[in-house]
């Protein structure tokens, strides 16, 4: 993992057209501004975790519904 220190308003660039700017720091929360072309999907990691949790729960459907679905 690459570790970089940045101050507010500084940015990093990923590839040729994705930039991540540190907008500000309030308490223990960092606000980031991400600029990326529309072809690139940007999501919070937690979204993937919550989908994974729902997938797992959906795969454990109770057997007694087999009669109605």
């Amino acid at each position: 993992m690459l570790v970089i220190s940045r101050r507010p308003e500084e940015q990093i660039r990923i590839g040729s057209n994705v930039t991540v700017r540190v907008l500000g720091i309030v308490g223990n929360s960092v606000r980031l501004g991400i600029s990326a072309p529309r072809s690139v999907a940007v999501h919070r990691e937690e979204v993937f975790q919550s989908i994974q949790t729902e997938n797992q729960a959906a795969s454990e459907a109770p057997r007694n519904i087999d009669g109605i679905l």
């Binding site: 072809s39 999907a41 109605i68």
Partner: protein
């Protein structure tokens, strides 16, 4: 197999090269237990016990919209002119009124190549919406996706 032995032919197989998010397995089939039911089962061929209920989201959420980045379409190798079917996973519990639907992480499947992926909708829908939020239980317009579906009814196991 959750539903007993299945007769699967090559043309039934749905390929999800990346599996589902957090659930591996690249070969699946769609099963219907009742020809007139909007609920299908996405059955893994890698793990016979693994099956998830799925539906076409627009049947339950007529206003549903899916917003994707280009790279998510590239992931399934979608070609120009091919139709995409969208399915959402349902969390089925004991009682039908308590069913939930994941509108945030739908599956998109190229109906010509039958290759798909679970993607993240850029529209910020919930992962566990109440299935009956927009449409009542008795108001369902029955439809099935343009994908191969194995009819495997109650008497077939």
């Amino acid at each position: 197999m959750r539903f007993g032995d299945l007769q699967v032919e090559d043309q039934h197989i749905i390929k999800l090269p990346s599996g589902l998010i957090g659930i591996p397995g690249d070969q699946w089939v769609l099963i219907t237990r009742e020809p007139e039911s909007p609920f299908l089962w996405l059955q893994s061929l890698d793990n016979g016990d693994l099956a998830l209920p799925v539906v076409q989201p627009e049947v339950f959420f007529p206003s549903y919209s899916l917003q994707l980045a280009e790279e998510q379409l590239q992931e399934i190798g979608l070609q120009d002119g091919h139709e995409v079917e969208v399915l959402c996973i349902v969390k089925a519990v004991e009682e039908l009124p308590d069913f939930k639907i994941n509108l945030r992480g739908p599956l998109i499947i190229d109906s010509s190549t039958r290759t798909g992926a679970q993607v993240v909708n850029m529209s910020e829908y919930p992962v566990d919406a109440n299935l009956w939020q927009e449409i009542g239980i008795n108001q369902i317009d029955f439809s099935h996706p343009e994908l191969p579906i194995i009819l495997h009814g109650q008497g077939d196991q």
